[in-house]
Every structure is written in structure tokens, then in C-alpha cells.
Amino acid sequence: MTKYITVIGLEVHAELKTKSKAFCSCSTEFGGTPNTHVCPVCLGMPGALPSLNKQVVEFAIRVGLALNCEIKPYNKFDRKNYFYPDLSKNYQISQFDKPICEHGHIDINLDGVEKRIGITRIHMEEDAGKLNHSGASISTSDSSSVDYNRAGVPLIEIVSEPDMRSAEEARAYLENLKAILEYTDVCDCKMQEGSLRCDANISIMPEGATEFGTRAEIKNLNSFRALVRAIEYEVERQKEVIEKGGKVVQETRTWDDANGKTLSMRSKEEAHDYRYFAEPDLVPVDLDEAWIERVRAELPELPAQRQARLMEQFGLPKYDASIIVASKAMAEYFDEAVKNAQDAKGVSNWLLGDVSAYLNNEGISISEFKVSPAHLAELVNLTKEGVLSSKLAKKVFAEMLKEDKAPKALVKELGLEQVSDEGAIMKLVEETIAENPQSVIDFKAGKDRAIGFLVGQIMKKSKGKANPGMVQKMLKEKMQ
């Protein structure tokens, strides 16, 4: 059996968080009645002229710097010509031979192995409109209805080098990229709503080959899971084609998430003959050094820097820090909680454990999490101070999920304070020893398991409230 190497490059489109569109003043607001955020420019009316939104350039520079790119002072726009109903002008304004950013990279880390993924370029362009099909799917529809509200919304396209060799590497790259786009505050990054979209170029080649195989471009990857599944499916499909003596065809395929397959897309526009030429209605951009340096100076803390800070400032393990910083909202929650907490690792344990489990279960993000950072910190402190055992802390947490009350108040309300009163515990110890003479004999005979049994009995009697450390200590002393 021939062994194959998978080669993956990603093209990521990110909708920029501007108030107005790229080349006209229409609102970029998502949703709404179709064709209510439109004007002659984004409807492609003859004679309408585009004018460039300065904020689009600002955002593109910011992302370029965050992705370690060279910012090209001189860059220009081009027309990409093709006919498709979601494109009002029959061309898309994009950047072809002179994009704003080139030669960047992202470092990914998989199982402790660092790898650098190259970024070929970042260019500015406009989004297309949205087609709503009359039937259940594009192939069964007799007609479509076009909404141009999205037409002209600014995008940046981030093109990677074909540097990834597995679905997991592609996933790690996209996760890192998404975090950077969140931190730089240029994009909502809602894959389900389409504000962050990913296409994957996938090919395979026999081990030892020096030339890449023919690639297929996979579209419609709306989640990290879809990206991973589509790559795994596509690699198997290409292997099968080759093993059967066939050839992989260079084509665009769409990911069918429901059936877990990629399907060939044969649209009317088959020839990729875009006849790019310079957009005569927009003058070139010529960035001065001062602008670029101002954006560089204003760059926010990025995920890698934040991870280093969490490790240094709070002594978090690398694993904890890397998971917390992967989401900007999670990192902000941590920073907020840790201000009031006596134990940073304790906050991290809650976030990575019960909090993440709850969020995953509910299918919500941490920005929708009802428990305030201050209350989580208080819960951590109550455990640290020995007021709550870890088991009771979980009970209090479950109550906090129902209603965001202060844990101290809940502990009182539920009568859950840990009993650390020596007299009260001694009473329980004496009772239990009297009730279990056999266990005391076993303990004296050196059977360690006996003590565990006795501690369990005492905890049961106290309804979990006795301080386990004190119980253990006093029990041993009493039986000596």
C-alpha cells in the first residue's frame, strides 16, 4: 500500500466589524428584511461610484500586523469578473496582484510540537449578496430570491500556504486564527452566521514525492467539526480515486454536512476565467509609515502574549493557559475572576472543568454564562478557606447555575457550611467508633482500608459537611 501525505491550505473569509459597507455608506447590520440596507452602489446601478471605507484599511493593517505580515504601503483594488446572481455588478471588487499584506505566519502547537504555518497574503474585498432558494436545496430550486443586504459588506481573505499536513493541524490553525481575529476585534467570528468562512484546498501525494497532487477546493465549511470531517472524507475519496487508477480532478466541491460527503459543484460558471483588471473607480492606497506604526503601537494583547502572561503572572500550567486564551471571552472572564480569587489555579480548574462542561452541554458561549466572575471567585475562595469541601462546592455551583446568587449566601441558605468545630467532629468520631468495633480492630491490625470506611461513615453522618482533613486526623488520634 502506498502511503500518502495530505497537503492542506486554507482560505478564510472574515467579515469586518465596520458600521458601514466597504464601498458605500449602507449599514452592515446582519439580518433584517431583505434589500433594506441597499443603495445604487451595492445594487450595481449604472454610474454609481464606490468610495473606500477607511476603517476597512485600518482593520486589514491590524490583522496583518497581528499575523506577522509585511504591510504593503502601495496596494490597489481590482475587478474580479464573473456572472452569478448574488453579485450585483457582475464583478467583485477585490485585490489581485497587489494585496495589502503578504508573507505572514501563525505558530500552532499540537501535542507540544510547535509548527509554523505560512500566510501567503491578506486582501480586502466585498461580500456578495445572499441567495434564498425556492426549493429545499440549490439543485431542486426552480428559482432563487436575491437579498443584497450583505452585498458590499467588507471582507478580508486570509490565504495560508499549503503548509498543513493533517485535519488536526488545519483545525489548530483555524482556532489560532479565529482567536487572533477576536482579540484584534475586527470580526464577530460566528461561523454559523457566516461572518467567518473557511474553504480548504486539499490534495494528496505519495510519500517522498516532490510535487503536490491535484487539489480540490472544498466550500461550505461552517464549523470546526465540518472542517475536520470534510478533510478526512476528502483525503479518503482522493486515495480511492488514485488507487483505482484514476486522476483527481481540479474542481470546487461543497461539503454536505448532513450526509458527511463532499460533492462536485457544477455551476453554470465553470471556467475560472475572472479577467482581473485594475478597478478604475478606486484610486490606489498608499499607506504612510506613521499610520502603520500607529496601528502597531495600538495592537491589543494577542493570544500568545496573553498565554505567556497567565503562565508568568498566575503560575498556570501551559495547558490551562492555552485553553483559557483560545477564546477572548473566556480569557476576559478569567482575568475578571482572578482579581477577587485567592487561587488562580482554582479559577482555572472551574473554567476548564465544570464551567466548560456546562457551557458545552447548554451549547452556549461564556459571554452568555450567567454566573458572574466575582461569584465564581467567591466560590473558589470558600473552597480554599475550607468552608466548603470540593463536593459541596459542586452543589453550590449547581445552585448558582439556577440563579446567580453569591455563594456565601447560598451556603447559608442551604445550610452547607463545612463543620470545622472540634467538639462537633469529636462527637461524630466517638459515635462512629462505638458503632464499628470491627473496623477499629482491623485498623489496629494495620488494614489501611478500615480508616477510609470510617471516614466515609462520619462524612455520611455529617451530610458531607464535616471537614475531611480534621475527621481523618482526629479519627487516627482517637484510635491510637
Binding site: Q55, L131, S145
Partner: protein
């Protein structure tokens, strides 16, 4: 520079135009007439001259990021040949 009837067909297809076979020859001839005129320009020696995609020495024409209302929904759709679900109705996309 010469183009073939095949290339004219390709360009017609990209432009979503149906050119009857009977008119293909005349279009090909006209294309070539235009291109041979452009050939005169090709003879000019342009060594050492930068391409000039823009005739004006202007750069950086920006607009501030302020949203303003565009045209009304009704006005936007008033020229549409067909309207469906508040959108421009178009024939099926796939062949």
C-alpha cells in the same frame, strides 16, 4: 494578434450571450479588427516605463465609517423584473 472563433465563443459564454453560429464569423472578424488596431500600440517601445493603470496622481481617497440610509426597499425592487420574498427573483442557478 488573432483570436479564433473558439475564443469568441468562450468570451460570449462568459458574458452570458448567445451568438448564433451564422454570426460567429462576422464577430470574429470584428474582434480581430479591433485587436489589430491595438497592435499599433504594441509596437511602441515601452522599455523602462512603469505600467499606468491610473491616469491621475491621486491616492488614498477614503470615506469615514458612518452608516447612512440607502434607498427604500420599494425603490430598490422597483426595477426588478420579478420579486419574490422581498428579493430579486432569478431563474435557477444550477444547470
Amino acid at each position: 494578434m488573432k483570436v479564433s472563433a473558439e475564443e469568441v465563443k468562450h468570451i460570449a459564454q462568459l458574458s452570458r450571450l448567445t451568438v448564433p453560429e451564422t454570426e460567429m464569423q462576422i464577430f470574429t472578424e470584428q474582434f480581430n479588427q479591433i485587436l489589430s488596431y491595438a497592435d499599433i500600440m504594441q509596437k511602441v517601445d515601452t522599455t523602462g516605463i512603469e505600467p499606468t493603470p491610473y491616469v491621475l496622481p491621486i491616492t488614498n481617497a477614503f470615506r469615514e465609517d458612518i452608516a447612512k440610509p440607502g434607498v427604500s426597499h420599494e425603490a430598490a425592487l422597483s426595477n426588478a423584473p420579478a420579486v419574490e420574498n422581498d428579493g430579486f427573483k432569478v431563474p435557477r442557478v444550477l444547470e
